[in-house]
Amino acid sequence: SQQGEEDPQALSIQEGENATMNCSYKTSINNLQWYRQNSGRGLVHLILIRSNEREKHSGRLRVTLDTSKKSSSLLITASRAADTASYFCATVPTTSGTYKYIFGTGTRLKVLA
């Protein structure tokens, strides 16, 4: 079963608005990452947050992590049409003992110009 589940599955917003997507996971983790995938392309790493961090920023991206709720959120501020893509969270469960990155099912974001 999937470790991460993103919510919502799909999101449509106007250019300039903020987009928020959430990721829930099931077991304790070493870190959580967010990736973007443009249609027909491979995934691109956006940001990593470690289990001992609560918030992290990178440009227009803001990621939060709540380990007590086993959840994370990705906020994209001032969205642009170029942000249209699918976004995935990925985790490495501490119970895995190795290097198994587990991905969620993704959120499809559409930014309307």
Binding site: Q33, R41, G42, L43, H45, L48, V92, T98, Y99, Y101
Partner: protein
Amino acid sequence: DAGITQSPRHKVTETGTPVTLRCHQTENHRYMYWYRQDPGHGLRLIHYSYGVKDTDKGEVSDGYSVSRSKTEDFLLTLESATSSQTSVYFCAISESGLRSGELFFGEGSRLTVL
């Protein structure tokens, strides 16, 4: 962009035939992964490698085998392809495994099994 090349990028084959997908990297990264992506399932890990000749199973490894005889190449083999293996396959690499975290992905190989 990380130097990851997947081949072939597109393949159509018939049920029962063997298929090999190749992932080639020029980054000298230790860790390599094969994922499959299907609608409604996201990315699921098939197999991964943590060094030359060191591989392990992921969550959907049945029907797949892998080999890594040198650092730069990671091969995924479907011994006898089935229609359920129609999917987009992604190779990924990582320099330091889970400690540094970042995965770099190839552009994908779209496989259709008729």
